[in-house]
């Protein structure tokens, strides 16, 4: 007996609605985490470059710890592990809210920020050192020099690896279903459980991930070309 394909089942009606909800959750959690990880990653990179020893060590430890441990473990850590660390009333307050989603955002943000910090650092290294010295000589502080001179140039250089990090983040977001966030992969699994038509559900969700990724890379590339006027090399 062969497997009978039925794509109508998973793209319309109740199950279609599940996939749509899952897609929205995936977009939601990815969008927040992309913005968060870019900000946190920039901060960590600047601290690492600050030449203030405790800050350098702290940011180096952050980077090495979070990019060298499995994301799934980190998700469990934020979700289950926080229970024994935080005081009881904080836990109670958190559990009244959507803590599953929050733990997922924190895990994705921190994990991706560690990678982004390294990308930014390598971008900054690509800018000649004399630029920083020259800007400091004109009277800019370290942070001002970073903000107005170094980082704007560094970001242009690191846009391709940055896109990769964002795409990874979108795909990694499928792991947060481990703590019960109902995103796209979760919904595909759920459809499989209910109907045994898992192949269709996973095909559709794969196409959705592919579309999100292509839209992100297209958008960033267009921004490069049109706004920043960087021609692809």
């Amino acid at each position: 007996m062969a497997y009978s394909f039925d794509f109508g089942l998973v793209v319309s009606g109740e199950y279609g609605e599940w996939l749509r909800q899952g897609l929205l959750t995936t977009l939601h959690i990815s969008a927040i985490s992309i913005v968060g990880s870019l900000l946190l990653g920039t901060l960590v990179a600047v601290l690492r470059l600050s030449r203030i020893t405790p800050l350098v060590w702290g940011s180096a430890a952050f980077t090495e710890f979070f990019r060298n441990t499995p994301l799934l473990v980190q998700i469990f850590f934020w979700y289950f592990g926080s229970y024994s660390v935080l005081p009881d009333f904080v836990n109670q307050w958190l559990y009244q809210r959507d803590f599953e989603f929050a733990a997922g955002v924190i895990a994705l943000t921190v994990y991706t920020a560690a990678f982004i910090a390294e990308d930014i650092r390598s971008g900054v290294f690509a800018i000649p050192k004399t630029q920083l010295e020259a800007s400091r000589a004109t009277g800019l502080s370290f942070l001002q020099a970073m903000r107005y001179v170094i980082l704007p140039q560094a970001f242009r250089i690191i846009i391709p690896p940055l896109i990769s990090q964002f795409l990874n983040l979108v795909k990694n977001s499928s792991l947060v279903m481990a703590v019960g966030v109902m995103e796209l992969t979760y919904m595909a699994r759920q459809i499989e459980a209910y109907t045994f038509h898992g192949l269709e559900a996973f095909t559709v969700s794969t196409l959705m991930y592919l579309s999100i990724s292509l839209v992100i890379s297209f958008a960033v590339n267009m921004y490069n070309k049109r706004v920043l006027k960087i021609a692809p090399r």
């Binding site: 007996m1 062969a2 497997y3 009978s4 039925d6 979700y79 289950f80 229970y83 836990n91 109670q92 559990y95 803590f99 599953e100 279903m177 481990a178 703590v179 019960g180 109902m182 979760y186 699994r189 759920q190 499989e192 459980a193 209910y194 109907t195 045994f196 038509h197 898992g198």
Partner: protein
Amino acid sequence: MRKIVKLLAISLAMLVLAAPAFAGKLESIKAAGVLKAGVKDSQVPFGYVDEKTSKIVGFEIDLVQALADKLGVKLDVKPVTSATRIPMLTQGDIDIIAATMTHKKEREDQIDFSITYFQTGQKLLVKKDGGVKSVADLAGKKVGSAKGSTSEQNVKKAQPECTVVSFETYPEAFLALKQGKVQAVTTDESILLGLKNSDEKPGDYEIVGEYISPEPYGLGLVENDSDFRDFVNLTLMELWETGKFQAMYNKWFGEDTPNYIPLNWQMELWP
């Protein structure tokens, strides 16, 4: 070219004609001398690995053993998961599924089911002092469950005001209950009993509420094989009528076992 087409057409026609002759599961099992059953290997007491013998034992294993005995063939059990059991059956890796599978209408278009051999229902596992006594108390609260199960939608229907959090496995859902992240865990009563008994202090938890939904378990069979389905159904009825089924049931769910569930339902018996 024409010759090849002709050859292809003939072989195709032979395949089509020959297929039904080989399709009978009953004959192929007898010819092989072995009944291959897909079972759970971590679901006490339905199917789990016995600590002493390292063999898979359980209520469902006894059940398929009875079928194998009736056929006069050997039994070969293979562990399956919720995700693998259907493909393994349709590809012929196993002949029958006995893996706590709820008989649902939606599942009918991939496989066939036997008559019901176990009747349970979805309930709630809660902390004793947690203030949840029934589904009605779940309004505005979080309920834990496991993915791949049908418990989630059922509890949503019974209490639309609750939030369901689905984990990979039931032990994780139970951990979330212990930490206070969810106020209840919901699934089949038989599985909740196993969870409760796995804790160091089972007395701190209790199973409450009315059945949220009926969960009739059926044996999974290859689609459109009437002879085999008849054999399985008639054998199940015979086991019930001769009292063998009840003996098997009491061995795993009887009063003096930790997983006591009274046998308060009747098997569908055809006159």
